[in-house]
Symmetry: C2
Subunit: 207 residues, 2 copies
DNA sequence: TAGATTGTTAATCGATTAACAATC
DNA sequence: TAGATTGTTAATCGATTAACAATC
């Protein structure tokens, strides 16, 4: 039961998955959903789901399942997305542009607030609603805005240097699209989105 | 030791990470690398790395470490990327375009061979080197080319339907960028790249 | 040879599952 | 009430780590 012990990271990592599924269920007009139903939708065992959720509180009702709206609200609160986080984007090539224009951040807790590049050809151009700024201004601008989350969409060769800069500017969480492992201080988190890694994980199982 | 028992998926999932680090090390001009050195570069324990690699064979030399070129070759073989896999891309919006033009697939085992969309405005237009085709032709084209890997870059609302179509066409591995869980048969693998999920995993730890 | 590092074993640690009393 | 489903416990299962003999 409930939220005072340390929650294992595997459990935290499933929370956004539950949240996404709950939001879909709500869109379908459901108001309540059982761990069994969630299990079928996600391929995660019902016992696992109940155990995970029980670490944060008693949200379920026996005989009926979980009230969707209340659980969504609770998960958003536990994940600290009961607010909107400003994000700084670095690297505005094809992928950076796609991210700057991506509509999926807004209603899930995030907003790209600034975009930087080092290429003079790109600086001053438009990316989504933003004007691309010179990466040399990054540290000052990010510090002033107290931005805590960075997205790296540069080539691999630049990514570690950009990470250092973000860390220096006070960023504590980095989403890295560049195909390279980043070395950062212990109090900074990194998540990786190199598309080739999951592809290679799957080809292992292909004939 | 060596490769006849079933390898746990966690181990398989680390192989591409090792491979990427080894390729970087080779680019730096190294010819041999110890588990200790790899550990520092990746934040994975040296014991873990040795144990993982030992499941595939005895690639290391006591006192010296692992010969990089040979290990790269071996990992590529075990991951079945000692060849180039054709991939079918579905959904050619901003993200799909970025993927079609991404240079990082070619030398890591993949090639986007076809791109489909259902929007008449997009069909016939250029995406990277490809001409966007009508999604109604997908099943036939994919079957004929015997393509086994699909990438979904459509909106969430279309993703499950596209997945069904890919499965019908014989695809066995799907990389899904749409923010939705896909339900597919047991012999089909799915990997997810919704950028919001990792962001929400990190905000849990932000104040 | 001396020093370094592997592959492997056994011990530890952590995560998942099964089962069921509690209860809506 | 009867039926369904939770939260939790204990048992199982699996993954990681520590340690070291073997050996390059």
């Amino acid at each position: 039961m409930s939220s005072r012990e340390k929650i294992p990271h595997v459990v935290v990592s499933r929370l956004p998955i539950y949240l996404r599924a709950l939001e879909h269920a709500r869109q379908e007009g459901l108001t309540c959903i059982s761990s069994q139903e969630l299990s079928e939708r996600l391929g995660i065992s019902a016992a696992q789901i109940r155990k995970d959720l029980s670490m944060f509180g008693e949200y379920g009702k026996q005989g009926r399942g979980y009230p969707i709206a209340a659980l969504i609200e609770a998960l958003r609160r536990h994940l600290h997305i009961d607010r909107v986080w400003d994000v700084v984007l670095v690297g505005v090539g094809d992928l950076g542009h796609a991210l700057a224009r991506y509509k999926g951040f807004a209603n899930r807790g995030f907003r790209i607030a600034m975009a930087f590049d080092k290429d003079p050809e790109r600086i001053g151009t438009q990316a989504g609603d933003l004007v691309v700024e010179d990466v040399r201004l990054l540290a000052r601008r990010v510090q002033e805005a107290a931005i805590k989350i960075g997205m790296i969409a540069t080539p691999a060769a630049a990514a570690q240097e950009v990470a250092n800069l973000l860390v220096f500017a006070g960023v504590k969480a980095i989403l890295n699209y560049a195909p390279i492992h980043l070395t950062v201080p212990d109090d900074v988190r990194v998540e990786y989105l190199d598309p080739v890694i999951p592809l290679q994980r799957m080809t292992y199982y292909l004939a």
